[in-house]
Symmetry: C2
Subunit: 186 residues, 2 copies
């Protein structure tokens, strides 16, 4: 019913399939079952729509990861929870994740303020810094550690998606790859 939401959903679907610029606003409107002009009532320009969609999905990702991180004891447990929460979300919301990938690898990214991008990685940075302080994680440049962590997560997600694992096998892969990551960082 909510037309704004319907526009975002249709845009997501079409953007991932055809790309941002190869998807006309008219097709988004049609797919959403609304009038052409309605799209511009909610989003003044097409760019506004693309960026709104990005911020919308990004905040969903953040909410998901933040939820899972509570009430754990050791750093390893916290980090593992964060890792598997991220992966499970990406697996569950393939299209949304594809969109984020596509967006962050496009010139659109420059239209987003740096702080906006940094916002959701703050908690992990804190975690990692704490780990270094406590001599659990190797004393390396924090940005380098973060790069390895996110690169690992990202590529394991790609791996899991291309294969068509059962839920159990998926969980096992997440477990195993986290142990490997942990081995590398400690």
């Amino acid at each position: 019913m909510d037309k704004r939401k319907r526009i975002l959903e249709s845009a997501l679907k079409l953007f991932v399939e055809f790309g941002f610029h190869a998807t006309p606003t008219s097709k988004i409107a049609k797919e959403a079952g609304i009038a052409n002009g309605t799209l511009f009532y909610f989003f003044p320009t097409k760019d506004d729509l693309v960026i709104a969609l990005y911020l919308d999905i990004k905040s969903q990702m953040m909410a998901n990861a933040a939820l899972e991180i509570e009430n754990k004891t050791t750093l390893k447990e916290v980090l593992k929870d964060y890792y598997s929460a991220s992966l499970n979300w990406a697996i569950k919301h393939k299209t949304k994740f594809r969109f984020i990938e596509q967006f962050t690898n496009s010139p659109y990214l420059n239209k987003i303020a740096e702080e906006e991008i940094q916002a959701h990685i703050q908690p992990i940075y804190k975690l990692l810094k704490q780990g270094i302080k406590n001599r659990v994680i190797q004393k390396l440049d924090i940005d380098m550690i973060f790069a390895m962590l996110s690169g690992h997560t990202f590529s394991i997600n790609q791996y899991i998606i291309t294969k068509d694992f059962s839920k159990n096998k998926q969980a096992k892969v997440i477990d195993d790859t986290f142990e490997l990551l942990w081995k590398m960082l400690t």
Copy 2:
């Protein structure tokens, strides 16, 4: 002088800056200093141009990595050479690498045959399989190992590019991160 080359160079520059669809063929022609129609003399459609550019850069990457891999003794040395050759190439050819990233994270990728994509990863697969056989590398799914290897390489490249390291520091980062990767895989 070679107009085909000039078109490819201009297209590369503009695609990376503005994206594929946000870059009109007319601007590419202008930037290349050639007539509008000339572009279509060499590349029947814009898609043909995009794909030709991808294949061109990809073959440059392959040639570079293949060159460096010769005459090494241990698996670790070979893999390390491959790793640093890839990273050094990416650092030296930032724009080309950005293009590959953008392309592979866009719906354009579907227009490339699967074999074409697989072609250049064959030598590494062989290397990794050999490593598993010789009990040097952990006995894990080969696709998983490859995913971790490429994810690691990719993210370390991102890391090096965002920082503005000296040549020496760059080499040190490449060395250090390879050791970490090796630690994880063995």
